[in-house]
Each structure stands twice: as C-alpha cells, then as structure tokens.
C-alpha cells in the first residue's frame, strides 16, 4: 500500500538519512525509532507529502503521492507535533473545524461523543487556552475516532503528555484501526500496550 524507496532527507545543508526504504501493508503498525535528531519527524513529514524529499519516491497504492496528492490526502490522517488547536476556540469548535477542513462530513454529536470518549466531557465548551498540554493533545487525538475511513494514520509522538489510562485507550484505538485493515505509522519514546507487536524501523540505520 505505502511504499518508500531510496528516500533521502536534507535538513539545512546536512543530509539526515538516505537510501531509506519501507513498505507498509494493510493492518500493519510501524514504529519509527531512532535517537533524537535522526530525522523521525522529518520522515513522517516526507511520507505525508508536507516536505519534499531530496531524492527517492513515495507511492500510495502504486501512485506517486506527488502526482496523486488529493487522492492520497483523502486517505491520510496526520497528527504532528503541534496539536493544531486554536486558543480562542473551544475543543468542540476546534475538532469540528479540523474534521471539516480535512473534508470529513462530521456532525456536532459525533464530535461530542469523540471528545467524551477521550475524556474531555467537562471541557467541551471551555476556550482551549485554559486546557493543559495533555488535554490539548487529546482534542487533536479525538480526530482518530472520526477518521476510521482514512486508511493511513501518521502520528508524531501521540503519547506525549498523556496519562497512563489515556495511553492505554489510545493504544487500543490504534490496534483496532489496524485490525480493521488500516495502517499506522508512529514515533514514540514510550512503551504502549498494543494488541499487536509493532514493526520497528530504525532511522538511525540509514543515517549519514
């Protein structure tokens, strides 16, 4: 499904990694590992198409993601380092906007249910600026419950600032997505109780 070949990543004037290759099949969970600064986030951003690779190609369902960008982005969910939460909007408004902007038709009720499920039932209408880091992250993670039809989830440090229970819930949601034929690609420094053992790709092995 997702194929990456001969990928090279340039940051500033330094080559981070090169000749990186990976394949992701339906139902797989891939953990990107490696020490800080090796290019894990850069790899995720290359895979989403946000960043341009220095060399190499990324294909989704056999088509280059640069050529078929719109079709690819319809099936992609990327949650980056920044939670994409605006301080002046409530969690509910933020989540509804995130879904609508991505092109998902989601009504207010399902958004509310997703926020309740992730443990924000008391913060639904507060402005996001009063939320803690962990709560902000949860708002953006709530999109996972509304994006089942998006096959590929690319998550950058999704467990950061979450408590133990939230980590377990999230791990379960990711496992369910994979069990339903989805794909997950994530970076994390934490162990999480996944139902299936993640495949690990060490970016350090391709470092320059």
């Amino acid at each position: 499904m997702l194929e990456v070949e001969d990928l090279a990543c340039l940051k500033g004037d330094r080559l981070l990694f090169r000749d990186l290759a990976l394949r992701l099949q339906a139902g797989e969970l891939l953990r990107i590992a490696g020490p800080n600064g090796v290019g894990k986030t850069s790899l995720l951003r290359l895979v989403t198409g946000l960043a341009l690779p220095e060399a190499g190609e990324i294909r989704w369902r056999g088509e280059s993601i640069r050529r078929e960008r719109e079709a690819f982005h319809r099936e992609l969910l990327y949650l980056g380092h920044a939670p994409a939460i605006n301080d002046l909007l409530s969690p509910l408004e933020n989540l509804r906007f995130a879904c609508a902007a991505a092109g998902d038709e989601v009504d207010a009720d399902s958004c509310m249910q997703a926020l309740v499920r992730i443990g924000l039932e008391n913060q639904l209408d507060l402005p996001a600026r009063v939320l803690s880091q962990g709560q902000r992250r949860r708002v953006s993670l709530a999109r996972l419950f509304l994006s089942g039809r998006r096959a590929l989830w690319v998550l950058d440090e999704p467990f950061t600032a979450l408590d133990v229970k939230a980590v377990a819930d999230l791990a379960q949601a990711l496992s369910e997505h994979c069990a339903a034929g989805g794909m997950v690609m994530l970076t994390t420094h934490q162990d999480a109780p996944f139902a299936l053992t993640p495949r690990v790709l060490d970016v350090g092995a391709y470092a320059c």
């Binding site: 340039l10 940051k11 500033g12 004037d13 330094r14 080559l15 341009l52």
Partner: protein, 258 residues
C-alpha cells in the same frame, strides 16, 4: 543527434560540479571582453561622439545611464526566468543563478538612478523628479532589495531558493503593471528625452558608443555572475567530495606558487 543525447549534453552543465570548472574557465574571458569594450565605449562616447546641440556635454552620461537601465530591467527578467526553471525542473543551479544575478541587477539599477539624478540636475534643475521612468526604476530597485533581503533572511537554503523564486516571479508579473501604472500616473512630464524613439536622429557614433557600452555591461554581468555563482556553489556544496577535492587542489596551487 537524437533527443535524449542532446538533453543529456544540455543537462551535463546543470550539475554544479560540471558547472564550477566551466564557469571558472569562461569568466576571465568575459571579464576581459567587458574591460576592452568599456574602454572602447567610453572612448567613443567621450571623445568621438559630437556634442549634443541642445544638452551640451551633459548628455554624455547616457553612455553609462542607458546601458545600466537596460541591464537592470533585463537582469530581473533573467532572474525570473531562472526562478521559473528552478521551480519547474527542481535544479539547484537555477536558483544559484538567479541569486547570483540579483546584486548585479540592483547595482545597475542604482547606477541608472544615480546617473539619472546627475543628468537631471543640469537638465531639469532638480536631482530628482517623479518622472515615470525614474520612478519605475526606483520601484525595480525596491523589488531587487526585497528579493535579496528575503533570500538572505531565510536560513534553510532550500526554502530560501524557492521563496526567492516565488517573489521573483510575482515581481516579474508586476513589473509591467507597475510600469504602466506609473506612466498613467505621470502625465505632467515631457516624453522621453533620451529614448530609442529618437535614435534615428542621433549621431551614429552616439548610438555606436551606447551599444558598445551595452555589450560591455552584458559581458561584465556574465563574468561577475559566473564568479559569484562559483563561490555560492562552493559554499552550498562544501560537504561534498568534489568540493573537498577542488579546495585541496587550489590550496596546493597556492602553496606551489608561494
């Protein structure tokens, strides 16, 4: 010659390590041509060309002013061209070329403005009048400054290249609009005193001097841009093997000479 072969020979010099020595070989020739032509042009302009009936000796500043003004506009177009090539073909050398051109373009722009002001004082009685051509030239200088400032302000070279290319293209689309609007705005001033429309009435030696100076400006631009592009390439590719080899060889040469 079939098509793929030709394209390969065309792109051979688009690779920085091929361009570097080629530019180094060519630049001195262009510089020499620029020097000779400048002397020839100045000699024609200052000693051979007759004194102008209405403007006296002052008009002789056009031998510098007009080629500089031509060049400043032309360089912006070339810059935009290389920017477009860079964005479409994703060739790093194109971005290097457009950034190497910018300071020279800005310099010619400034020279054109300065000589224009010097010519304006005795002719119009003021160093600066808001004449359509002077004003467009001033705005062009601002466009150059914007391009240079933007590419210098961005630290990541790839972002700097592409952001600069976008602003160069946006500027190139706007240059005709700016020129047209400034002309529209400026209706109070007399038509061009020194312009090509008057060229037939100009003494042939005047025209010859101006053309020789224009070609000299071309040669100068090519030489300077090649040299500047060379040093930019060295800086950008300093981590590559071929730059290491080049630097070592040049160090040896210097050592041998000393």
């Amino acid at each position: 010659m079939n098509a793929p072969e030709r394209s390969r020979s065309l792109f051979r010099f688009a690779a920085p390590h091929n361009f570097y020595p080629l530019a180094g070989r060519l630049a001195p020739w262009f510089a020499a041509a620029a020097l000779i032509l400048t002397f020839a042009g100045l000699w024609l302009g200052f000693f051979v060309a007759p004194t102008d009936a209405t403007q006296g000796q002052v008009y002789r500043v056009i031998f510098i002013h007009v080629p500089a003004a031509w060049m400043s506009m032309f360089i912006y177009l070339v810059m935009a061209f290389w920017s477009a090539v860079g964005l479409v073909m994703n060739t790093r050398l194109s971005f290097v070329m457009s950034q190497a051109l910018a300071p020279t373009g800005a310099m010619f722009c400034f020279v054109a403005l300065w000589t224009g002001a010097l010519w304006g004082k005795p002719t119009w009685g003021a160093y600066w009048v808001w004449d359509a051509r002077l004003t467009s030239q001033l705005l062009l200088l601002f466009l150059y400054f914007g391009f240079i400032a933007l590419t210098r302000a961005i630290e990541d070279p790839r972002r700097a290249d592409r952001a600069g290319a976008i602003i160069a293209l946006v500027g190139a689309v706007n240059v005709p609009i700016i020129y047209f609007s400034v002309q529209w705005w400026n209706t109070l001033h007399q038509g061009a005193s020194v312009s090509l429309t008057k060229a037939p009435s100009m003494a042939t030696t005047m025209l010859a001097g101006m053309l020789v100076m224009a070609i000299a400006a071309w040669m100068y631009t090519i030489a300077v841009v090649l040299w500047r592009a060379r040093s930019m390439i060295l800086e950008r590719e300093r981590h590559t093997e071929w730059v290491g080899a080049v630097l070592e060889r040049e160090a040896q040469l210097k050592g041998g000479r000393a």
